[in-house]
């Protein structure tokens, strides 16, 4: 995926201001249209108002927890792919995240290239899902 192909909206949600801004800057220079939110409630509102293609969501946030935010986003638009960022290294947590239906998860600290590839994959799958959805809708 070249820089132009990456010009789709990515919502980055994390309560760590410095991390959020630094990561947003890295993603922006690589072509993504990056939106940011500092907490779950703001993220849900932004998804409602201006839905992104992919959400990068921190799991452990004060207030609305990452998992709750994920559920709320999926309720608004099930096709939006969510990549979860987590500090928890346990296998149980990873299984739980996948079971919930997140596209993938990344453990902090993250490698920007890894995040980039995962966002691209998530976007590709979203588009595929949307296409399939459209075909199903047309059949009905």
């Amino acid at each position: 995926m070249n820089k132009k192909e990456r010009a789709f909206k990515v919502l980055l949600v994390d309560d760590e201001d410095v991390f959020r801004e630094a990561t947003a800057r890295q993603l922006s220079v690589r072509g993504f249209i990056v939106q940011t939110a500092g907490d779950g409630e703001t993220a849900v509102k932004m998804v409602t108002d201006d839905p992104p293609e992919v959400v990068v969501l921190d799991q452990q946030m004060p207030g609305m927890h990452g998992s709750d935010t994920f559920i709320a986003i999926k309720k608004i638009n099930p096709l939006i792919e969510v990549i979860m960022l987590t500090g928890n290294t346990s296998v149980d947590n990873a299984i739980e995240l996948m079971r919930m239906g997140t596209f993938d998860y990344l453990m902090k600290p993250i490698n920007i290239d890894e995040l980039l590839y995962k966002i691209e994959d998530a976007y590709t799958r979203k588009k595929l899902n949307e296409k399939q959805q459209r075909e199903v809708d047309q059949q009905h």
Partner: protein, 597 residues
């Protein structure tokens, strides 16, 4: 409204030195071995006490009862032996009385013999002797005395006694003087110079007393006496009122002499204890009816009681054997029961240790997750910012890569690294022990001091009114001031953080039932019900953006628990929270303060 009591949350927080050492090691096999040895020592002591207690409980009453029965038995034994010997003496006395009566009658009958004459010839006298000896072979001779006391007739082995005047002889004078018609003399030598008895009878003819007397062979009398004696080792003798033996030594044909015991004349019979040749003896006596002699039966006490002593010995040995057997049974039973209890206690202890170990491993797991999250956040910032710098240096992105711009990013990295350093330092502090400096702490002064410091920094950006409702004359708390300061500080910082811009913190202190209470109430946001159970867990925080580590309340609860107190939380979301700390007044805390992980 929900009240949450922390007292059960931190059960693994040490209260004692032993617990402190437990907290240091997740699982220490040496500690475990020491505990097992302690359990064994406890059960060893328990076994000893139980065995001693039960054996004493059984043996002591048994010994007392045995002593009582032994005393009673000995007493009865002695009485029985005395009665037995007395019966022997009485029976022999009766036999001798009867024997003597018969002899008296034998002699008296001679006065009524068909050929009786006041001047008997030798033939008649010989016939008299023959008649007497028909009745009893103990008769030695027979004599007849006229009223002058001259032996005018004699038959026997001492013919020279014929014609002798006996008027001056003691026995003769007594017989003539007394009303009784017969007399039995004591043993004496007389004219024949041989020990003998005289049995004399008196008969009046024409108002004049004539005397018929016979002598008894003391040897034969002795043989008779021996013949009627019965009872083991019973020595039977006859003595007169002066204690002189009325029997002779058969070997030497002479009177034995005097005895060592003279029975009291006032009692017809009786039994006494005497000591002879360092031997306890029983003496039974009975005064004869016919003559002032006493029959004396002597038996060693040991012989008298031999049969019953044997019975007593058998009983005593049986009792000892039974006691020993019961003691062994008690010991073995207790040993078995205590060993079983000990095995169960050791097993229980092992399970408890395994549980504690598992629990600690789980805590470490939770802690590791919390630490990882807290450390990963600044690491994520560092990596993200270093990524930004790389982007800046990448010509492809055409970003500002001036040294100033790069320095700015490096500052961000420094800040994140410092944040990680701060977290690791706090973790180190939690595990570090310090030398305790326990002093009497005035809670009111400490609160005042802490609030003063907070007002300078933490409370400065907000409009927070502090209302003091401190009880005067509050008893001091024995503790280290710094940890106590930290408790108040951590709770007050949280209270300040809970207030958005303007609010009130009310601090109340009081004393009730030996506990000092400090309540810190704020008018802040309050704690949601779902969070109230987690606020004392390490790394739980609702403060976003790296402002909180989630360790403040955890540390506060640890310290309060260590001081023997509790923290209670009362919170209404949207209205405020109040934290009540209860601390024992004047409690001694001497161990080093260590905040457990």
């Amino acid at each position: 409204m929900r009240v949450w009591d922390t007292s059960h949350l931190l059960d693994d927080i040490p209260q004692k030195k032993d617990d402190v050492s437990d907290a240091e090691h997740v699982f220490d096999p040496i500690d475990s071995q020491v505990n097992v040895q302690r359990i064994r020592q406890h059960f060893k002591q328990l076994r000893t006490r139980l065995v001693l207690g039960l054996i004493l409980g059984f043996l002591l009453p048994n010994a007392l009862l045995s002593a009582y029965f032994h005393f009673q038995f000995t007493h009865t034994l002695m009485e029985s032996a005395k009665l037995n010997l007395a019966a022997v003496a009485e029976s022999q006395k009766n036999t001798i009385d009867l024997y003597l009566q018969e002899r008296v009658v034998n002699i008296y009958n001679l006065f009524h013999n068909r050929d009786f004459s006041l001047r008997p010839n030798q033939e008649q006298m010989d016939n008299y002797l023959a008649t007497l000896q028909q009745f009893n072979d103990g008769f030695v001779d027979v004599g007849f005395f006229d009223p002058r006391g001259i032996q005018i007739g004699y038959a026997g082995p001492h013919p020279k006694l014929l014609g002798r005047n006996y008027s001056k002889e003691q026995w003769y004078r007594n017989l003539i003087k007394e009303q009784k018609s017969y007399l039995i003399s004591d043993i004496y030598m007389g004219f024949r110079k041989i020990p003998h008895f005289t049995i004399a009878t008196k008969q009046q003819f024409n108002g004049r007393p004539f005397v018929m007397r016979a002598t008894l062979d003391p040897d034969k009398f002795y043989i008779f006496l021996r013949a009627i004696s019965h009872g083991k080792d019973v020595e039977t003798t006859l003595i007169n009122r002066k204690g002189q033996y009325q029997v002779v030594d058969p070997g030497r044909s002479q009177a034995i002499g005097s005895g060592d015991f003279i029975p009291p004349a006032s009692e017809s019979s009786g039994v006494k204890d005497i000591e002879r040749d360092d031997q306890n003896m029983l003496v039974a006596y009975a005064w004869l009816t016919e003559t002032p002699w006493a029959l004396k039966a002597v038996q060693p006490v040991a012989v008298a009681q031999a049969g019953m002593m044997k019975t007593r010995l058998v009983l005593t040995i049986s009792l000892v054997i039974i006691s020993v057997l019961i003691s062994i049974m008690v010991y073995l039973t207790i040993k078995k029961l205590v060993s079983r209890a000990q095995r169960m206690a050791e097993k229980g202890h092992q399970l408890q240790e395994m549980l504690a170990h598992a629990s600690k491993l789980a805590s470490i797991g939770e802690l590791a997750a919390g630490v990882a999250h807290e450390i990963n956040n600044p690491l994520a910032i560092i990596m993200a910012t270093s990524g930004v710098i790389r982007d800046m240096l990448n010509p492809e992105f055409e970003l500002d890569h001036s040294p100033e711009a790069i320095y700015q990013e490096l500052f961000v990295i420094d800040a994140a690294a410092n944040r990680a350093k701060g977290i690791t330092r706090k973790l180190q502090d939690m595990g570090k022990s310090r030398v305790p400096s326990v002093v009497e702490c005035d809670v009111n002064s400490l609160i005042d001091e802490v609030v003063g410091n907070l007002k300078k920094v933490e409370f400065k950006p907000k409009h927070i009114d502090i209302i003091y409702q401190l009880a005067p004359d509050l008893p001091p708390i024995l503790a280290e001031p710094e940890p106590l300061r930290q408790v108040f500080s951590n709770i007050l910082i949280n209270a300040g953080d809970a207030i958005d811009d303007r609010g009130t913190i009310t601090i109340t202190s009081g004393y009730k039932e030996a506990m000092v209470s400090i309540t810190i109430a704020d008018t802040g946001r309050g704690i949601p019900q779902e969070n109230i159970q987690r606020i004392f867990s390490p790394f739980f925080t609702t403060k976003g953006g790296g402002r909180g580590t989630g360790l403040g309340l955890s540390i506060a609860a640890s310290i309060v628990k260590y001081l023997g107190g509790t923290i209670k939380v009362n919170s209404i979301p949207g209205t405020g929270s109040s934290f009540t700390i209860l601390l024992p007044a004047n409690s001694q805390v001497k161990q080093s303060i260590k905040t457990p992980l």
